[in-house]
Symmetry: C2
Subunit: 444 residues, 2 copies
């Protein structure tokens, strides 16, 4: 990795030749992250020293605030050059984040046809295949042969994001796919028609981008064609965008599972205020529902007035119940996200979790009852805690598996049904079970 | 998707021609999942009807128990055919899971050179780049021109997992990379030497596979070269394996964050007993540590003997503290996994979490104190709960961000420091804070 200090000092000493040759050997992704650490003036200077053919790729890899700054600073000519080299999907990503005046500036400097295309792409829903697709793909005809196809790719391929999957269309209807590997390993005069694969995995412009990403992992795809409502081919999603979606979706699930609103920005990019805003609503809801558990406890005031020791087991029971609930809910939520678990499996899952909870419950109950008997020499107390644990764990694992499945069924995000919500529910059940058993055993 | 019933009935009616033509149009991944639902005898029959050139790919996509069954059932000739078509990385994956007698059978039926290669690959650590790499890549020489290179690819490419990145070596030392796109869009007589990229992103055989996957997402790679200890090129990792690693690692983190030992198998593949085994150890540890909180409560017996209402706020305070702790720990753990957060950021993070906790704490405290004042008309109680909340949230977010960072620092997996462990720790702090404030305010 290039040292920032050295780079900045070369820049300040106006050693442009040295800077240029450094930028020449560096990878676009690394240049983008190096430039992100510069201040505005240095950034503008350094950006202009990037080899022309790499500038658009560096630009595409920068974060939003730097892109905005650069667009503001570009001359008409520079802006046009970058936009010409930028892939359609990166252009749309950029426009989605820019302030309105800069959007207008950009739309003014592209051609009419590109402007129309941009407007179509901007209108796809945020989480759809349409929003992450690119319209630049290699199209071939079925009566071309391999030599003609390769000549076509040589002519047009340089500006396409991927040339490794080529699409054969007939009146804009997708009829086949041919990979660059097929072309490179076939004889020169074979017709595309005889080479192409006709069983095609495709998605619709409105397909959820998470589903698109799942298809990539399932079928090890490099690109997937996107069809519109009339089944005409409109673009492709490439594997790099699918990988980004996978990472984003996992982050989103993990964030929701910890009772936060997901943020598209990284930890440091999110302001203190936004962090607080993402966390407070769920905390408030969960806090108020936890008071239900509190209210239930007051109903058993007499019990712990007689045996104050009972109170000291509340944290252990609540925590264990909560942990069991979050264990099973986590496995179910992840299984749903990976398309391994479906609502139709509900009875299989309930039966499985029931058996698991019997094993887990018994072992934990025996461990704890033994400890309590040894410490307090009270067989009743050991029985109360032991049975409370078994029942609490059973209920916790049941709630833990049912809630995400039902959420999925009614179209909610299963990740919302994760540990915190389940903990609160399980707490209430645990307390009721515990004090009911205690009241019975101790005749309170 | 092919209907299983129809497929099985065609199979049973011995309509082999129909079955063959169905299998012919299906994708290898879909065939594998269809065959997974058949019973053993049907499976053996159906597998032999798969088009020969697809059999190895279908086999590679099957789960372990089916692969084992098929290997047992294959004749010498069938086994040899499959092994010839199987990529090296899939062969190694297979061998890692097979019982010893079948491993010997397989090693006996491959050539001496392949056997040596397999033995080398089997010896790489489980989570290293070496364990997921394949040794079959396209190698070119620097003094070949584009036409010669394409002829070379045509001759040898068909058996390579990817031909889209070609590697130029000199005495087995990697000196450059050329993509199929470069070749397809270049003039015929250009020398590889003048076309190749010499700034190469590579990994070592012992690089952690999670790091390898991170490089794929960062640089949008299709394949990455793997070098041995002497810096000689030994293989490549392809993007499909990197995507699998990413999904696996996210699942592993999510599982650990819910206090379970991760399992390589899916929910249904894991037996009830194994599920219990994965969950019990952490539950026991957490349960026993929760008793610490319980013991602390008994120290405040006098307080809630005088004001029993105090007990009813325990669940709400514990839950809120736990939730805040898991919110911040989750963000930090994910940030570390995505390489966005590092130990050196520790003071920045502490300061950020401190400010967040002030906002979150104040809002939650005001909301709750108001509710309590309105319900119980006790300003003291409102003050006790309000301040307990603020301090509990501050400590929770501090523990939540510190623990994963410190775990990372000392080489532990940060995901282990997630909600359940933090909840238990935070509980203890919350109870101490709560009763200390209560004792002070009510002069107990």
């Amino acid at each position: 990795m290039m040292d920032k200090e050295i780079f900045v000092s070369l820049l300040q000493e106006r050693q442009f030749k040295a800077v240029r040759s450094i930028l020449h050997v560096m990878n676009a992704v690394d240049i983008a992250s190096l430039l992100s650490e510069l201040d505005d003036k240095e950034l503008a200077l350094a950006f202009r020293l990037i080899p022309k053919e790499e500038a658009a790729e560096v630009f595409a890899n920068m974060n939003n605030s730097l892109q905005t700054y650069l667009v503001e600073m570009f001359t008409e000519k520079e802006l046009k050059e970058i936009l010409d080299d930028l892939y359609m999907d990166d252009t749309v990503d950029l426009l989605e984040e820019l302030p309105a005046n800069l959007v207008i500036r950009i739309l003014d400097s592209v051609s009419q046809s590109k402007r129309n295309m941009i407007n179509v792409l901007l209108n796809y829903p945020d989480d759809s295949a349409g929003s992450i697709m690119t319209t630049e793909y290699v199209g071939l005809r079925q009566y071309m042969n391999v030599t003609e196809s390769m000549a076509h790719i040589r002519r047009t391929g340089i500006h396409k994001e991927t040339i490794y999957t080529c699409y054969i269309t007939d009146k804009r209807r997708l009829i086949g796919i041919v990979t660059a590997k097929d072309l490179l390993t076939a004889e020169d005069d074979v017709l595309i028609k005889d080479l192409m694969e006709t069983e095609i995995i495709s998605v619709n412009t409105h397909t959820d981008k998470e589903e698109v990403a799942q298809l990539f992992t399932k079928y090890d795809l490099l690109a997937i064609p996107v069809l519109d409502a009339e089944n005409l081919m409109v673009g492709i999603v490439t594997f790099d965008d699918a990988m980004d979606v996978m990472v984003e979706e996992a982050t989103e699930d993990i964030t929701k599972m910890a009772a936060m609103s997901p943020s598209e920005k990284s930890y440091f990019e999110t302001s203190v205020f936004d962090h607080a805003k993402n966390r407070i609503p769920w905390l408030l809801v969960l806090m108020l529902s936890a008071t239900v558990t509190g209210t239930i406890i007051t109903r058993f005031e007499d019990a712990f007035a007689v045996i104050p020791l009972l109170v000291s087991f509340i944290p252990m029971l609540m925590d264990t119940g909560g942990n069991c609930g979050s264990q099973s809910s986590t496995l179910i939520i992840r299984g749903i996200a990976l398309d391994e678990i479906h609502f139709k499996d509900i009875f299989r899952i309930i039966f499985k979790e029931f058996r698991i909870s019997m094993i887990v419950g018994t072992i934990l109950a025996v461990a704890n009852a033994t400890r309590i008997y040894l410490m307090y020499h009270s067989p009743q107390l050991a029985i109360v805690i032991g049975f409370s644990l078994i029942f609490a764990i059973m209920i916790a694992e049941l709630i833990g598996c049912l809630l995400p499945l039902c959420a999925k069924r009614i179209g909610l995000d299963p990740a919302l049904m994760a540990s915190p919500l389940i903990t609160t529910l399980v707490d209430t059940c645990t307390i009721i079970i515990y004090f009911s058993i205690a009241t019975m055993v101790f005749h309170l």
